[in-house]
């Protein structure tokens, strides 16, 4: 059931309903691929039966556009847009001034959480023949191009007071968390767990050496050095002989290497001077 004919109502491909989407009526259509969201690992953000999984959301669609498009199917509780499918909803994009998890303006996937399960079914029955149209001459939903960039430019202006308070809030919370963590470690100090093991922490009297990579390297290096100091060099006759042999071998090796280099250069036709 691959080739969608003009006559059918809903068209499905590997379980996905294909729904054409147009930016405006006169533009060629993209295809959305819809399916009820169902995976083994449940996540509370995507409630089963009420979540619609949409693939191939075009770059000019934001959350509002998606809402606008699918409201006809039923009331929408929440829309999540991501760069690629995720099992769990990502945390929100952070604050206005310090965004995290920013989506890139490419093709995205959407998770639409409806208020009623029936809406999902409704959506999956959308016909291939009547494409969704995002912008009508009366109502422009998605802003692109110069308008968008000018808006973004103005949006980037910062209200210093707001920024200041946001920072203070965050830092207060951060400090509190740090303090809590420290306290927790302190409490743990010297307390054995049920099997009798004591975890060494960074606070407290008996800190131990920090377990870092650099430290480890340092230790092995010291060990090597100590071993080397004990070794006797050029002590036995055979050692002398071997050093000499090594020298000749090194010369030969270099000779071979140079020869190889030359052959590479020759292959690159380097020696044709003019």
């Amino acid at each position: 059931m691959a080739a969608p004919d003009q006559t059918h109502g809903a068209v499905t491909v590997q379980g996905f309903t294909v729904v054409p989407l147009k930016f405006s009526a006169d533009k060629p259509a993209h295809c959305l691929y819809l399916k009820a969201h169902s995976v083994r690992e449940k996540d509370s953000a995507y409630p089963q039966y009420r979540t619609l999984f949409v693939l191939n959301v075009p770059p000019y669609c934001n959350e509002d556009c998606v809402k606008q498009l699918f409201t006809p199917c039923g009331k929408i509780a929440q829309v999540y847009l991501h760069d690629k499918p995720t099992l769990t909803a990502l945390p929100s994009t952070g604050s206005r001034y310090f965004p995290i998890n920013i989506t890139t303006p490419g093709f995205k996937v959407a998770y639409i959480v409806f208020k009623n399960a029936s809406a999902v079914k409704q959506a999956c029955k959308l016909s291939y023949d009547s494409p969704l149209v995002l912008n009508t001459p009366e109502k422009i939903v998605s802003s692109t191009g110069l308008h968008k960039w000018c808006q973004q430019y103005s949006k980037r202006r910062v209200d210093i007071k707001e920024l200041q308070t946001e920072i203070e809030d965050y830092m207060a919370k951060f400090d509190a968390k740090q303090e809590e963590e420290k306290q927790r470690l302190k409490d743990q100090e010297g307390v054995a767990d049920e099997e009798g093991w004591v975890t060494v922490t960074r606070v407290g009297k008996n800190k131990g050496t920090p377990r870092t990579e650099a430290r480890k390297k340092h230790l092995t290096k010291r060990e090597m050095k100590r071993r080397k100091e004990k070794e006797l060099l050029n002590f036995y006759a055979f050692q002398f002989k071997e050093t000499k042999k090594d020298q000749i071998a090194a010369l030969r090796k270099k000779f071979e290497e140079d020869k190889q280099k030359i052959s590479v250069m020759k292959a690159a036709r380097k020696f044709k001077p003019y």
Partner: protein
Amino acid sequence: MKRTHETDDFQSDASDDEVVSDDFEGDDDEDVEDDGDEDEDDDSEDEAQDGPPAKAAKLDKKLYKPPTANELNTLKEAESLFQSNLFKLQITELLTEVTLREKRHRQMETAVEKLKEVLMSLPSGSKFEISDQKWLKKSKVKVPIKQVPKITKGHFNFLAPCSVKCVGSFALGTCIKPSVHVDVLAEMPKECLQAKDFLNQRYLRKRALYLAAIATHLQTNQLIQDLKYSYHHGNHLKPILIIHVKGDSGKPVQVHLHISLPSGAFKPSRFSISQSNVRKAWFQQTEQEEAETEGSDLAATPVYNTTVLQDMMYETHTECLQHAQDDTLGVREGIMLLKVWLRQRELDKGYGCFSGFIMAMYVAHLLDCRKLHRMMSSYQVMRNTLVSLATTDWVTSPPSMCRDESDPQRPSLPTFQEHSDIVFVDPSGYLNLCCNLTHAVYRRVRHEADLAIKCLEGTEVNTFETLLLKPVPFVRKFDVCFHISEMEDVRKSVPKLQLEDSLMDHGGHYVHTCVPTLLNLMEKALGNRIHLVQPQLNACPEWGITEKAPGPESVGSLMFGLLLNPETANSIINKGPPAQAAEAREFRELWGEKSELRRFQDSSINEAVVWMTSSLISKRRQVCFKVIKHILNRHADIPSCNVHFLSHHLDSLLHLPKPKGDNSVYGTGEEEHMAIVQSIDQLSKLLHRLDGLPLSVKSVQGVSPVFRFAEVFPAMPAIPANIQTTNASTGSEFLPYPDKPAPFYVPTMTVMCKLEGSGKWPDDLEAIRRLKAAFFIQLSQALKRKDPSFFVKVAPAHLDVLKDGYVFRLKIGNMREITLAKMYTSPEGTMQSHDTEESRKLQIEYSARPKLTSALHGIQQQYNTFSGAVRLVKRWIASHMMLDYIAEEAIELVVAHCYISPAPYTAPGSPMVGFLRFLSIMSTFDWKTQPLIINLNNEFSKDDISDIQKKFTEDRSSLPLMCICTPQDRLVGHWTRERPTVPILQRLVLLAQQSLQVLQQQLQDDYINADFKTIFRPPLDVFDLVIYLKTKHLPRQHQAVDIAMATKLPTRESENTWKRLMPVVDYDPVQFYLEELRAAFGDLALFFHDKYGGATIGVVWKPRAKETRPFKVLDVGGCIVDSSTSNSDDVLLKVNMDAIIADFEVLGKGLVTHIKKMKSKM
């Protein structure tokens, strides 16, 4: 393997790409194995059974087997007799490449033998008057010499040559491929000569007739394929016949037939250098030929004498050379290497060249005076000869090969010096081998020898390549090149330069007559502004035997090159002697009315010439042009309009046009860079002194290209807001508005600040981000406290400061962030650090880029043309729409390489030559097998370099495509890790090759009408789609290569306007558009754009975009079901081209006018 599959691809060259990307993976292992196998064959048999698995062990065994004495010798010899083992092997390779194959040698010999027979058995002709040349009419053969004035006396009859001999480099075995020819000497029998033939060119005319007679006879011979005339080393008194003898195998053998005089035909003393053998009365045809008034008529004719004398000395010279290299392979090979060296520098051909013959004679001379030894290796011969060339001055102590002091008639060295610039006396004691060599060319040879020695002694990589394999073309060698276009002017300058006698000596060739004098004049005028001035040596023309001999009028134009002395070349004043001094008269005589008395700062009053008053660097680079034009006009009557300077023609690409009525000056942007650097210095002082901050600012370092003098168009003091609107709510800041034209582009310039150390920074990147923002707020308040009029704009990640009309973007770099970004806890609980995407980014931003900026800033301080060159290069890459696909820093470093390791040249002295050398590096450098090592501040030692090379060969596959090593960045590849990709680099190489060719051609020949912007105009037909943009929304349209008349140009507003208001910064809609396009469709297509005012975006689909693919949840972006597959089980998707092209339009709403599909691709 990865790289191939990820390649972003120009599918136009898709098939080629495949091949090359394979190359880049390096299948060299195979070759190596092959070599190994061959070696094993002569090994003992028992090892042969081991098979491949034991290979490593076997190699070891081979390394440790007992050495033979012979082997030990060769191993050690390499280090002692040659610079290094590699060098020796390279020499061997080169020599096998340039020596004739044994078979070909034999072929040539037999061909010459046959020719000899033919020549010896030519029938005698009957006697004619010299002036009677009717006997030539039938065969239509012309006499290969200018017969002006006519000779009335004497007669000529052709007799077969009395001997035919092989001479020159072929006979000696020192000839080098390609274009090997055999020099054959035919001795003109005594019977052809008359007693007075030495006089008035009569011998030379006879010689030419003799050649013509031979040509007539050979014309119909079966053995001969083609006959041509040429001049021997461009000397128009001395034609030769070029005979293409049919060889055994299809390729003809080229024979140069010279004519020699029988020994004892004339006394050598007759042609002693100061003798006069051409009579003025005859030459000027003044009728009173009979009543010669002696004395006044006897000007010495050194050139004429030498020309004749050479014909008598051929054999002795050949014998001398033969003797020098008897049974000594080292000497012979040394001479060959030196010849290759000369040829690469274009010094061995044309009139007045330093020919291979002179070089060979010099080697013989050095052997004579025991500076060389017969036992020396080829490397030692070459090196010692170069050392001698570099350290001895032939002007003050001319070499002489004449050992025999007995002959009193021999001219003394001072006599020789009186008559020629450079003297090198041959064994006979009569002949100056360097008679035609000008002082300028000799100085060039010395200069090159000096460079070669420095190169051999220095830490440079690939010395062999720079010395012997890289060509050094004229236009890339010299900083400034210029042409004298009208030869008629040169002819007229003869009387003005008082060269009538010399003209007679040169047989009427006014160009050869004037050039040495013109050179001396220029040298004198330019003084210490230049290191070298040199005329281009052109290979002499060949012409058919039925055509007339070309004279001086056939010289199209004269090209000269100047090698500037960067310290003094641009000084705008020539300070002369004090007014009363005796030299003052001479000074005034040299400069004429330009010279005037001036009072200098030290209160002395001196003669001086002031060339210009402008302080613009671009203008000051033209001082030399003015000097030369003036001096040529004054002393040689050559009008300035016929002297064409070329090196400033690309300046227009760095120039910004100004609207009418704007009086400010804009040269090529160096001054604007300076202004910005000064402004940032002031800001830095201010920041250091700020108080009331939690942590003080420790260092301030600009990191934008502008601080490296590498911004194509540096920011101008806030370009005004004449078409912008202010937003009422903010009042002090401009905002862009979609319905209005875009405001002129104002870039921000990033400045990295480092704060004093503190242990209180948290161990969390997010928290550090907040704290930095808080610090910016405090910093802005502190600045406001200092000066309330300061305009600052806080953002979470930076602080914009408006100063002097420039917008600086301050950022804070904290090294701790890098460590934090690297940190992660391993499963066993140890803290480990490894590079992540983020840590690399921070590393570049906080450490690599500031270091690079200060290093490149240093280069600009050292070489003031660096800025011009690097910006031309960037402009060029940008104009081909590729600047986004290669890191700017990488380009800057490659240009820096041209300055730091300029060998075989010297550091570029003009932006143009810097640009040319970049193009040549780009088009020839073998990125696959070599890292580009840039020894900034000379921090690399020789060991470091070999270490890097070793590592490079070991891990080639994991290193970036373009490997650029600096002392800060060894093999990390900060700048080239991700960009460029294989197809981009390939395209760049291709463009560089083409552009280089076009530009050199324009400089060389087409200099009058050439449009130097040609190479800056990209072809649009390589793209699949072209997106056209509305020009009114392009904030940088005035920077375009070609701008329309209607383009609005930025005016500078008065200072008051910009002090109060923050302009719209970093607002370039095209960049926003490109960002969105690349983010959305980057995996399907490449988007090319010239950010300096380009009005188009070129789109190239990646091969992926045209393939169908199976339905996968992760891979459906922009796809529709491919309706051509009707099988229901495996559904295939194809890219929804139409919708995506429509998306291009949607995303660029308001900016895009239309999208055009290119026909050639559809």
